[in-house]
Symmetry: C2
Subunit: 323 residues, 2 copies
């Protein structure tokens, strides 16, 4: 089998592609706007074009194509259903459509984007030293992946690891999913920003006001991080509040899975220890005593690369490599 | 391989044993007091005696012995550590000790008692029609097992499915584990009884008072069930309160595992639909919309037999049958 594969990150805004060497990682990358409004036919052609471009750069024929996609993925890892931010897709057999387009006769494996990030971390990122870990992606929403013995744990329909919708307070605020107290309702980017804006009312001297030119609607977790770095107590406290909530939900996950390592990625994780240190402090308090040993929460530092590496890794691992 | 195996249920109060036919289920059973106070040597001899008794009743040599035990079980399924209610056990290699005692040279496989109940349900009980399900055991505590594709999901150290310690309210009441809002702190037998006793202060006409001869310290979930059956609104409301909490925690588990079937067993589950109907109503509200299809909560009706059947099933499945 060739040591090269192509990974695709199918996003609502951008399409990203990478040529990946199995051992050495990223060899080449490319990107273009998704133009999701032009519908699936256009987007699939764009993906095909990117794959051919990456394949042309490879010294050997590639062993396959892996695609990280939003939405629900079929158990066979061929078909995408109802991807948010991709209008008109309903259900698309992405594997078959690309098979028709591509010159090379190679497998095209599709997987949920959060799972792909987990796989990338497992083989190229912070998860490399751990056979099993829970990946949590803190971004617009809160996503997750369960990596169990170096494979993706997919659940009965391929939709496992929806950690963002686990509740930590059955009478808590409603997240977009309609779940009361779901962790996404605390740590999702818009929820965290809204919470921070409300709370800063009590802190008129916070540096955050300067960073957003007095307009708290411009507030993002990144601004909170910058203010915390500049020594702002209010911003530091808000990020610690978020970290505490993260620790609570991770405790529930550890109890259920007996997986003690958590890798945190995504944009909001850029706040690093401002969120992760309080999460580390809280986590054992929400874990049964017998499972409190060897707990660790680590940060994924590969950023977006982890998704492209994970997508290509799908091709190296093969379609049936899953738990 | 013989179609017969012996299953042992190692409890703090009683030792139970069964001769099990792979297809037909229970053939014979026996029991004796554990006398846990006499220490592990005595208890292990008692287990050996029960195994020989059951083996003697079998028409063919048995294929093995399975033991459901409290406490932490080693990954190899040989050794028990720190079983509650078994003083002096610290760490005991139950497989090796029984190997030495038993005449027949057959594998002795040890597994956590909650997991054993799940396996019994999967092959002989309410779980038979489902490849994957979450088993929840409502008794003194709240135990659990994850059955995934007809095997026990054990986690990284064999301790998965501690659903009783998952939180539904990070500022909720503390359970014995020290976890705030852990579901065991609502549904564990003593917690549910205490909650009911407090709440009945507002219902001096409840039938519960008669059932406990005016002494609310005698209150058990079984009494609540009896009162509910007799048409008592207060008892019915209390069991519905418990069912609501159960639905909340099961929602978190479904989100994480993408396992949509829940089998509920244990003594408290005897309250049946007084608890399970409200749990069914609550569950989808705590599950992300994409996973709300095909949810079901069913009752295990085999009672204690499920543990003996599951223990013997360990021998039919073999030591390495696990996820």
């Amino acid at each position: 089998m060739s040591a090269y594969a192509v990974g695709i990150d199918l996003g609502g805004t951008n399409l990203k592609a990478a040529l990946v060497h199995e051992d050495d990682g990223l060899v080449d990358t490319a990107r273009c706007p998704t133009h999701a409004d032009r519908g699936p036919d256009f987007v699939i052609k764009q993906i095909g074009r990117l794959v051919e471009q990456m394949t042309g750069d490879a010294p050997d024929p590639i062993s396959g194509v892996g695609i990280g996609s939003p939405g629900a993925i079929s158990w066979e890892r061929t078909t995408v259903s109802q991807p948010p931010n991709l209008p008109g897709w309903t259900t698309v057999d992405l594997s078959a459509r690309l098979d028709d387009l591509l010159e090379a006769d190679v497998p095209v494996i599709v997987e949920n984007d959060a799972n792909v990030a987990g796989l990338g971390s497992a083989f190229y990122g912070a998860g490399q030293d751990h056979d099993s870990f829970l990946m949590v992606t803190l971004g617009t929403g809160v996503g997750g992946a369960i990596i169990y013995r170096n494979q993706i744990f997919r659940g009965t329909t391929g939709a496992a690891a929806e950690i963002g919708h686990m509740t930590i307070d059955y009478e808590g605020p409603y997240a977009n999913s309609g779940v009361a107290g779901a962790i996404e309702g605390y740590l999702g980017q818009s929820f965290l920003s809204a919470h921070a804006a409300d709370r800063l009312t009590n802190h008129p001297d916070s540096k955050v006001y300067d960073l957003v030119d007095g307009d708290l609607s411009q507030l993002t977790p990144k601004v909170l991080y910058e203010a915390a770095e500049a020594g702002d107590d209010a911003a530091t406290d808000i990020l610690a509040w978020a970290g505490h909530k993260l620790g609570c939900v991770l405790g529930s996950a550890v109890n259920l899975l007996d997986i003690r390592t958590i890798v945190v990625g995504g944009g909001v994780s850029g706040a690093g220890d401002y969120i992760l240190a309080p999460a580390r402090q809280t986590l054992p308090q929400f874990v049964v005593p017998g499972l409190r040993g060897d707990l660790s929460i680590i940060q994924e530092t590969l950023g977006n690369k982890v998704s492209l590496l994970g997508a290509a890794r799908l091709a190296f691992e093969g379609r049936t490599a899953q738990v």
